[in-house]
């Protein structure tokens, strides 16, 4: 799943699609934490809590990112990732 997210992030042209891929990645990390917690260290709940907070963080990230993307859209009328390669070298 992480790999998929990675793939998507690198290949998608659409910034929102990239964000979706990112969500996949974050999600996979959450799963990782939870699974490790549940299977290996069931005595504590650190992994679970971590996931909990990670969800919150992910939400915040998404919000900010989408806000920015929308702003880019306002200016460029486009959410193509190749749009934002003006600055280089």
């Amino acid at each position: 799943m992480f790999g998929c997210g990675l793939y998507g992030f690198i290949t998608r042209k659409n910034m929102i699609a990239m964000l979706i891929s990112l969500e996949l990645m974050l999600n996979s990390v959450d799963i990782n934490f939870v699974v490790f917690n549940r299977y290996l260290f069931p005595a504590q709940y650190e992994g679970m809590f971590f996931s909990l907070f990670a969800i919150a963080i992910a939400a915040a990230e998404t919000a900010v990112a989408i806000a920015i993307i929308i702003n880019v859209y306002r200016l460029a009328k486009n959410v193509d990732i190749n749009q934002i390669t003006k600055m280089k070298f």
Binding site: F9, I10, M18, I81, N82, I84, T85, K88, F89
Partner: protein, 659 residues
């Protein structure tokens, strides 16, 4: 006059140099000149007094009729090591230095006086650098005096350099003229090259003996040679003893100053300087510095027969070579210059054939050659200075160096003519003039060494007579002088005439100085006898030479031209000085400049500089090359990111886990 006051003989010219150089240039020319002459006069008187006291007075300088080496002043100037290898500046009095004091001061004074007239104008215009000229003369006199009274070999080297520089300044006196410019440069560089060897010689010698001091090195009066030297003689380097190398190198240094073949090439060119300077420096004093050097170190040289043989061969060859060239030169100063070379070679050969423990031929003691050499040095200084001053007077009168512009001057300049004749007779070795006595003893010494040497030198003596009279006739006779312009040549003012007369007088009588009693290598008097057979023979040869010259050059006739065409190659080669200058030109320009310096400069610019520039360019192109990494695309960035992270992990993992 106490001998300890010898230092003032040096101090006065030095002071004069500073004074004339710094203050004098602001003063009127007349005053500067007179001051210079007065200073030199005082110096001369003082030097005479010293020499007189040394030779004839009572005191520590003469113990049991043996002249001692006296160090009257010794100031530590530069100490290489705390206690050993100290360079001192001092005054060493012994027969030869006392004799040299006299020679230098006499000639220098004459030249100072003479220059008052000679240098007052330049082709009718007041001479611009008159003050500078006197300052430089004073500097030269100081340096030369310092050279002869050196207490150690390093002091000698120092003053070798100093005379070199003053010679450079004086040759280049007319620095506005290209030939003078080149000549001064050439003189300095060639003698510098010789000095390099001198320096190397000093370094080798001092490395073994751990001293520079003559007295420590050789012991006083040819006494005990220092142990270090004798033990170092056993050491060899490339098949020869190290001391042999050292002494040979030192001789090369002397050869440079004394214009021995092949380092003689600067001397003829040095005639570009004012003629009085040529008289002083390039005839009488500086050029004998090499002879003096060898004489000074004579006790060491006699222990190294190999070095002596080298000197002997070089001297004998130079004598012949220079004489041969002198026979064809048309520039009178150049002809005189080659004559000087030849005569100095005589002295050098004479020193070299001498030996300390030599066999006795004709009742002569060992060290005859040494004495003869010094004697000849003395007499030669006088008559050669005379000749040059005469030449100066002539040049002054006709404004040219070429003898084709002269001819038949006897009528116009009788005093000069007579003075010149005296000089010629002296140098040709006609009794009773000075040259006869000294040259005779040289020939005797050469015959002692071997009959071959004797014959060879006798032949050169004959040639000497020939070319001197050739010059004489070409200047004063040959044909009637053609007067150019409104001024006919005439004799010179008294300031110029007086020195001629004085020097002519000395040239006549100097031969009767009892040199054998005064100047010998170990301070003991040397019994000298006239070797009549040798003397007779040499006079005979000289007369033949004079006769030949008379036949060829007394009156205008086609014989010389005929001979010249007959032996065209030989004549041209001789006239061109056997192409030595061209050879040097080739070596310096083609080999050193084009062959070494240019490639090195190229290497520096292209390879070394290029390398560092390349570093910069590589950095820049690397910078350009990796710019694609910054593609501006987020996905590109992320790809690098993830690949970087993965590689980091993979490589580290592989390295850590595999070890």
């Amino acid at each position: 006059m106490p001998l300890s006051s010898t230092i003032y003989v040096l101090a006065i010219p030095f002071f004069m140099f500073l004074f004339l150089g710094l203050v004098g240039v602001k003063m009127p020319r007349k005053i500067t000149g007179v001051l210079g002459v007065l200073g030199m006069a005082v110096t001369t008187v003082w030097a005479y007094a010293i020499a007189f006291t040394y030779f004839f007075g009572d005191g520590p300088q003469k113990v049991n009729d043996v002249y001692q080496q006296l160090v009257t002043t010794d100031w530590t100037w530069l100490s290489f090591y705390a206690d050993k290898l100290v360079v001192k500046l001092g005054v060493l009095l012994d027969p030869i230095s006392a004799m040299m004091l006299v020679v230098i001061c006499t000639v220098s004074f004459m030249v100072h006086l003479y220059s008052l007239g000679y240098m007052s104008d330049h082709d009718g215009n007041p001479e611009k650098g008159f003050q500078r000229y006197y300052a430089d003369l004073a500097l030269f006199t100081f340096s030369m005096l310092g050279l002869v009274v050196s207490t150690n070999i390093f002091q000698m080297f120092i003053f070798f350099e100093m005379v070199g520089v003053s010679s450079y300044l004086l040759i280049g006196f007319y620095y506005g003229l290209q030939p003078a410019n080149h000549a001064s440069k050439k003189a300095f560089i060639v003698t510098r090259l010789a000095d390099l060897f001198f320096l190397i010689g000093i370094m080798i010698l001092s490395f073994y003996t751990k001293t520079f001091d003559f007295k420590e090195m050789m012991g006083a009066n040819g006494g005990t040679i220092c142990n270090a030297f004798t033990s170092a003689q056993g050491l060899t380097f490339m098949g020869c003893s190290v001391t042999g190398w050292a002494l040979t190198f030192i001789f090369i240094g002397g050869a440079g100053k004394s214009a021995m073949y092949p380092l003689h090439i600067w001397l003829p060119d040095a005639m570009e300087g004012p003629t009085p300077v040529s008289a002083l420096i390039h005839a009488a004093t500086m050029v004998v510095a090499g002879v003096f050097l060898v004489a000074r170190m004579f006790p060491l040289y006699v222990l190294e027969q190999g070095a002596m043989d080298i000197i002997c061969v070089v001297g004998a060859f130079t004598a012949f070579y220079a004489a041969a060239v002198a026979c064809t030169q048309s520039d009178i100063k150049r002809a005189l210059a080659f004559s000087t070379i030849s005569q100095i070679a005589f002295m050098m050969t004479s020193l070299a054939v001498s030996s300390a423990q030599g066999k006795l031929i004709g009742g002569h003691e060992a060290g005859l050659g040494y004495m003869a050499s010094m004697f000849h040095l003395f007499t030669h200084a006088m008559f050669k200075a005379l000749l040059f001053l005469c030449a100066g007077a002539i040049i002054h009168a006709v404004h040219s160096n070429e003898n084709s512009k002269m001819h038949g001057l006897h009528k116009y300049m009788p005093i000069t003519s007579i003075a010149f004749l005296i000089g010629c007779l002296a140098i040709a070795g006609i009794p009773p003039f000075a040259g006869f006595f000294s040259k005779d003893e040289i020939l005797v010494a050469c015959y002692e060494k071997g009959i071959g040497w004797g014959l060879w030198m006798s032949m050169v003596a004959g040639m000497t007579a020939f070319y001197m009279f050739r010059i004489y006739y070409l200047i004063f006779f040959w044909k009637k002088h053609e007067v150019h312009g409104e001024h006919a040549p005439k004799d010179q003012p008294w300031t110029m005439t007086l020195p001629l007369i004085i020097l002519a007088a000395i040239s006549v009588v100097a031969g009767f100085v009892p040199f054998g009693d005064l100047v010998t290598w170990n301070g003991k008097p040397l019994e000298t006898h006239m070797n009549w057979s040798v003397a007779g023979a040499s006079v005979g040869i000289a007369l033949i030479g004079i006769g030949l010259a008379t036949v060829m050059y007394r009156k205008e006739n086609p014989l010389p031209d005929k001979l010249a065409t007959m032996f065209k190659g030989l004549w041209t080669a001789s006239y061109k000085r056997f192409y030595m200058d061209e050879l040097y030109q080739f070596i310096t320009h083609k080999i050193i400049f084009q062959g070494i310096s240019k490639p090195i400069a190229w290497f520096d610019r292209i390879i070394i500089d290029g390398f560092f520039n390349l570093l910069g360019n590589v950095t820049n192109s690397a910078s350009f090359g990796i710019r694609k990494m910054q593609s501006g695309s987020v996905q590109g960035y992320v790809s690098y990111y993830i690949i970087g992270a993965v590689l980091l992990a993979a490589i580290t993992g592989a390295v850590i886990l595999c070890i």
